[in-house]
């Protein structure tokens, strides 16, 4: 540097060096102190938004079980966010030991990056979905608009609250559930099905970016007549915003939402946590894990081990799966319906 020879240059330069050194030391030290101490085993579970309450309970139960089983202490850290954003963080290097996301396609994306090995979906029972859920309607007390089935959503004057399928995993299940009903109603007439789904989204005055944003819009801001929601979210909203204000309407047909779980192979092999991470996911299928899931209004994959009073809130209805020929699995449905220029994008094309 050219002007360094001058007085200011020298003095300032020296001080600057000292400042820079001091700063980098501070950064180093604090980074050290904030980073976890690995005296005990730590697991990081990267999950989507609506599972907070579930995993708060389950993590405590698992820690107790693991202590009894192996004598080791295990702490589970949680990270919650939109399912797609969480998957991206893992792809970009967030060191999750396990992922418990909303959509198979999000874990497929991680698989594509190589951090999860192929065939993860068959490694655990039930398509690696220890609990499932479905999409139901939350309506205002007394159901003033008389909403009982998917066809009622597009009646004149009905406003539907649902998040944006482009940004929310739950919203994609909403969309698919509506599609499944329409497919049956219109006997597979693709044009009519599309017209119905398009009509449905024309009844949506707001598209929040996440499922919980929609719940707030509906329950707190009092917008809309019906909220399309995860079954567990509908119950939770009732508890949080007053049981007397809302009613849950279970439509006769809906979608079987399978939020999958997987061990992130790249992380557990690097950190040596494979054993405990696998036990963690397997424990979701245990009697205790299944009961905790049911308590939080997820549908357990083994109904027979769950206390009957917990099952009462989860009535039997016809559930269409994503692997049904009308969708052909996530690998086909994701680009076809929600990809750039897919069916959902066409709904909003002007002049349609």
């Amino acid at each position: 540097m050219f002007n360094f020879a001058q007085g200011l240059g020298q003095g300032f330069g020296k001080r600057l060096g000292a400042v820079a050194l001091g700063l980098s030391l501070t950064v180093g030290m604090t980074a050290g102190s904030v980073a976890p101490a690995f005296a005990e085993t730590q697991l990081l579970n990267v999950s989507y938004d609506p599972t907070r309450e579930l995993y708060k309970d389950f993590n405590a139960a698992f820690a107790k079980y693991w202590k009894a089983q192996s004598g080791e202490d295990v702490t589970i850290r949680q990270s919650h966010g939109g399912s797609g954003a969480q998957a991206r963080s893992v792809i970009d290097g967030l060191e999750a030991d396990v992922v418990t996301l909303a959509l198979e396609s999000d874990i497929n994306a991680i698989e594509k990056s190589g951090r999860i090995k192929e065939g993860w979906r068959t490694r655990l029972p039930n398509n690696s979905s220890p609990y499932t859920s479905t999409i139901v309607f939350l309506v205002r007390k007394g159901n003033p608009k008389g909403i009982h089935n998917w066809g009622d959503l597009v009646k004149d004057g009905v406003q539907v609250i649902t998040p944006n399928p482009k940004t929310s995993g739950g919203a994609r299940w909403n969309y698919l559930a509506a599609w499944a009903w329409a497919n049956e109603e219109y006997k597979g007439d693709l044009e009519k099905v599309k017209a119905y789904v398009a009509d449905l989204y024309r009844h949506a005055p707001v598209l929040d970016t996440g499922a919980r944003g929609s719940t707030v819009t509906f329950a707190q801001r009092q917008i809309g007549d019906v909220l399309l929601a995860w079954e567990n979210e509908a119950y939770l909203a009732g508890e949080e915003f007053g049981k007397d204000a809302f009613e849950i309407v279970v439509p006769p047909i809906s979608i079987l939402a399978e939020p999958p779980v997987a061990v992130v192979d790249a992380t557990v092999d690097a950190r040596g946590t494979r054993k405990v991470a696998e036990a963690y996911l397997q424990y979701l299928y245990s009697d205790e894990g299944q009961n905790i899931a049911a308590k939080h209004f997820y549908r357990p994959s083994k109904r027979d081990v769950v206390k009957p009073e917990l099952l009462k809130a989860l009535p039997d209805i016809k559930l269409v799966t994503i692997d049904d020929p009308i969708f052909g699995g996530w690998r086909k449905a994701q680009p076809e319906h929600f990809g750039d220029g897919g069916v959902f994008d066409q709904i909003y094309k002007p002049g349609k």
């Binding site: 540097m1 991206r88 944006n164 970016t209 917008i223 750039d340 909003y348």
Partner: protein, 285 residues
């Protein structure tokens, strides 16, 4: 850094001669820091969007949905910046010229939009301007939240401090004698403000406008709560970026970001050039 200084041959000068020291050091440090923090990461962004190639890039640029989102983003940011220019200047005037109860408190509060997390701002504004909210219910059946107007509201909130805080210091620096001289020479108050004060304030107002506008174009956190996010109507360009990311389409996301960046950069550059020109023309302040 050295080559900047070394690359100054006798005829072509990088800088005018000056006895003040520290040019090489301060400029060198600024450029190094700027490069590390801003330029290299942003170059990575450009590089990533270059994966698309020109054809892919223009396909995104020509897509009606992208154009519409850009229109919404730039349009609402422009409207909000204009509102802020008028009212922000008024507030700055009020704070620097008048004394009234609570002036200090209001002066302090002007900076809050910087401090409040944008998501909180969005939630608070939506609560107020939603059809059931304190303010929103006053305007029913005319809807504010969940329309483009809601976006403007959020951006006015986000951009206000930029205008007030760039105009206010300059206003406080203005010599009262100039106004008195104008008045002595027979100008009425309106003429004094318009002909004497405003030209001096113009560069600061312009800067405030540019910053408020630039900030508004990219704002995401507060807008998504109040916008409604309906494609072609109230979908902003940053939301479109997030949507592309959700599709794991990094190239598409960075392409939209690049387009926004280039437009914003050009607009800021034009405004800064106008400013530099007016500074040369009218001298210092």
């Amino acid at each position: 850094m050295t080559n900047i200084a070394a690359a100054a041959p006798a005829r072509w000068r990088l800088k005018q001669p000056s006895i003040i020291p520290g040019f090489g050091l301060t400029l060198g440090f600024s450029l190094a820091y700027l490069s590390l923090i801003i330029l290299i990461p942003v170059a990575g962004l450009f590089w990533r969007s270059a994966e698309l190639g020109w054809a892919g890039f223009f396909a995104i640029l020509g897509d009606e949905r992208t154009l519409r989102a850009l229109y919404v983003s730039f349009g609402t940011a422009l409207a909000a910046a204009l509102v802020n220019v008028v009212f922000g200047t008024l507030v700055a005037w009020m704070l620097s010229r008048y004394s009234f109860p609570g002036r200090k408190l209001i002066d302090a509060m002007v900076d809050l939009p910087f401090a409040l997390p944008t998501a909180v701002a969005g939630i608070a504004l939506t609560t107020l301007y939603a059809p059931q909210g304190w303010i929103g219910s006053l305007f029913m059946p005319f809807r504010i939240a969940f329309t483009p107007l809601g976006i403007v509201i959020a951006l006015v909130f986000i951009g206000l401090p930029f205008v007030v805080r760039t105009v206010q210091p300059v206003m406080e620096e203005i010599d009262r004698e100039i106004e008195e001289a104008a008045a002595t020479l027979g100008a009425n108050r309106f003429q004094t403000i318009r002909r004497v004060l405003l030209p001096g304030l113009m560069p600061a107002i312009l800067t405030g406008f540019a910053l408020a506008f630039a900030r508004g174009v990219g704002e995401y956190g507060s807008v998504i709560f109040i916008a409604g996010n309906i494609p072609y109507v109230s979908e902003i360009a940053p939301l479109l970026i997030v949507i592309r990311l959700e599709e794991f389409n990094y190239a598409g996301a960075t392409a939209i970001a690049t387009i926004m960046l280039i437009i914003s950069f050009l607009m800021l550059l034009v405004i800064n050039l106008i400013q530099a020109w007016s500074r040369r023309r009218y001298g210092n302040a």
